[in-house]
Assembly symmetry: C2
Homo-oligomer: 428 residues x 2
């Protein structure tokens, strides 16, 4: 006889398999939908979000009350909370995605062969995308809209703490799909169940999920990377570095350091470690550290830095690989760009690194020898963002090297195929 | 106390872990190696292959003798066999790879932002590539050279039946790396051990393999897809279709059908199923089938086709999903392009499909609605090949939709990163 748990787990498996089949079935009409039809659907989704603001607020109120009862952290509750302004921003976000250029069918490359064959590489959808996310309910709208724009079906798995909010938002997306005559199954929201649903998604639902995108904390991303049997666009943590070279303009270095660390400390593009060229320690180190401290930043430094700035706490080994997501920075003196590169290659999560320098040779070396998704010269690490790159909305910053790297926007959610036109050619 | 087997498996684990660490260590100098240095290394590899022809032939003689003793199939022994001509062709192949444009550092896209940031997307290596292959020893040279050209380190795992040949070829590649001052560990050949070595590679050697490329039969590819914990460029079988529309030029259809099926029956781009538009069955069916039969092809057909051509054997359901790799073709009548698309989407391995038609609307529909890596119009499916696409050598045809699709040449073995140049910008 089955115990209650086993039965429940079998039910989840069957439910998820059905969701997978529906997504695959919806993927084909969506892949073939015209740009106009997808545009119509996305605008209708945005309208529905505004029209149903009250219902979304009410659903969010249930989640907030439950979250407070469950004693969730204030930062978590802040991410969970929706306001009329946040709902409007969500609708604006969907509208902005609607207005992006439709990627599907775009000819990315074309060439002719000596035998007269004309070859085109053409953008196509990826298929079915699984998105697993945590607290922020707006991911429901962002991810749903981005996937549809790129012609993909999507299976969304929201955190259980935001289940009411996500369901209310999802109802608006479904309304938009219906209004445009697109299959509602193109955006499915997994009903709240236990974590077994996530496990099923990671197994790929019998070939019916083509790629998984986790959006959440380290625990989620690590679980996904360990268990997933399908490709993953992993958004690892952002252990981002700022290196100040001896050739750096001091004012610029101060301004960029404060912005990279303190503009918003909770985003993945925030700097976590500051490396300063030993050759400019006398001139540059103190002004930068004082500006950071004045902005409210805690400084954890190596021994040598503390000789210059005794107010700093002593950094431990763990500090060089910690994503604080807080007003804390680790600081270290290095021997020029070569030493900075060594430190970064050894400790970075390969997300984003910046150099402040006037010496072109140092910049070129930094750009060539560091293998991170985004490298910046004389600019803040906080520009690591799809919107700032001009890609429109993004679903995260991929830190892997396969398929998508850096901001994952509409284009990164596509694949391609080859179209070859001949006039009767056969191969000799 | 450990049994002998357990000890051996631990030894394999330790050996493979060491190979992984060495590959990762070699990947960085290789990623930063100049185009010129890689060019030098590849030419030196080609020279070494020619200079060591006798040693390679001798090693191959050992494999052939062992293979005959083990009763390997004649077709397997033919793939295993090396001749002076085949060695020369291998060296020519490596030389051709040397002469390809170096992909690393290429700016794939560049744009400016309103705030003055200049963004570039630049090609980078993938990292460490694991290639697992079976009988053909020349894959050692092809895969090694392609990976090095793209700045990657590679771990090669040859079939045990070709171990002596592969080792002799590998020695030449190592000679080329040495001659150019590149780390020898950039191309490692896993010593012959049991299948445990493959299992270790599929687990990713502790993060030291970035992608696995299996090159071999269905058994190998399926094992890789089931067990791999790292991304895979899967080359599934090629169940390629040829559709002859009612608007097809008959002579062209005959010529393409015979070429697509019979030019070489053992390659993945060979056609396995012929779909003929019912509307032209009276005119087109018999000439095509008779030409195929005259070329030595066995025909397995649906009931309706057999009414036209009773000499055909009856096709079973299995025939629609079988990659014969032999002089056999399955044949079916369909109701125009829509029905052909339905059949292909249901039975194809999404490798390559061709349409013969003069009706532009039918061609567009075929091109838009079929989601296979390569679609051809009025040309033979046997053009599904990196060389024929003008990409130079290839390591296979990827049938997945992630990262690489279609021929996997040098460019497909790369990733990219972003370089952003500013003048002191901070994010508002």
């Amino acid at each position: 006889m089955l115990t209650r748990n086993e039965r429940s787990s079998e039910d989840v498996t069957a439910m998820m398999a059905e969701i997978g089949r529906k997504a695959r079935a919806a993927a084909r009409p969506l892949a073939m939908a015209s740009a106009e039809r997808k545009h119509t659907a996305l605008l209708a989704m945005a309208d529905a979000l505004l029209r149903n603001k009250a219902a979304i607020m009410e659903a969010n109120g249930l989640d907030m009350a439950q979250g407070e009862e469950n004693g969730l952290a204030a930062s978590f509750l802040d991410r969970l909370k929706l306001t009329p302004e946040r709902i409007r921003a969500m609708a604006d976000g969907v509208r902005a995605i609607a207005e992006l250029k439709d990627p599907i069918g775009e000819v990315i490359a074309a060439w002719d062969r000596p035998n007269g064959l004309h070859i085109e590489r053409v953008r196509t959808p990826l298929g079915v995308i699984g998105v697993i996310f945590e607290s922020r309910p707006n991911v429901t709208a962002d991810a749903g809209a981005l996937c549809v724009k790129a012609g993909n079906a999507v299976i969304l798995r929201a955190g259980s703490d935001s289940s009411n909010s996500s369901a209310a938002i999802h109802a608006c997306l479904a309304e938009g799909l219906r209004a445009a005559g697109l299959p509602e199954d193109a955006i499915q929201l997994v009903p709240v169940t236990d974590r077994a649903a996530v496990g099923e998604m990671l197994k790929g639902l019998g070939g019916n999920i083509d790629v998984i995108i986790p959006r959440g904390g380290r625990g989620l991303v690590e679980r996904v990377q360990t268990e997933a049997r399908v490709p993953v666009f992993a958004h690892l943590e952002g252990i981002c570095h700022l290196y100040v070279d001896k050739s750096a303009d001091l004012d610029m270095a101060v301004k960029i350091a404060v912005n990279a660390k303190m503009r918003r400390t909770g985003i993945c593009g925030a700097a976590e470690t500051l490396l300063v060229d030993r050759a400019c320690a006398d001139t540059h180190l103190l002004p930068i550290l004082k500006a950071l401290a004045a902005a409210g930043c805690e400084i954890r430094a190596d021994e040598e830095t503390r000789e210059f700035y005794p107010e700093a706490k002593a950094a431990t080994d763990a500090d060089w690989t910690t994503e604080y997501l807080d007003a804390i920075i680790s600081v270290k003196l290095v021997d020029g760009v070569a030493d900075a590169i060594e430190h970064i290659e050894a400790h970075s999560s390969h997300h984003t690194e910046a150099i402040v320098a006037e010496d072109a040779a140092a910049v070129e070396r930094f750009f060539n020898e560091i293998d991170s998704a985004i490298l910046l010269h004389n600019a803040s690490t906080q520009f690591a963002d799809g919107g700032e790159f001009g890609m429109g909305a993004e679903i995260g910053i991929a830190t892997g090297r396969m398929h998508a790297r850096g901001p994952v926007g509409v284009e990164q959610l596509t694949s391609f195929k080859y179209r070859v036109r001949g006039t009767g050619q056969v191969r000799p």
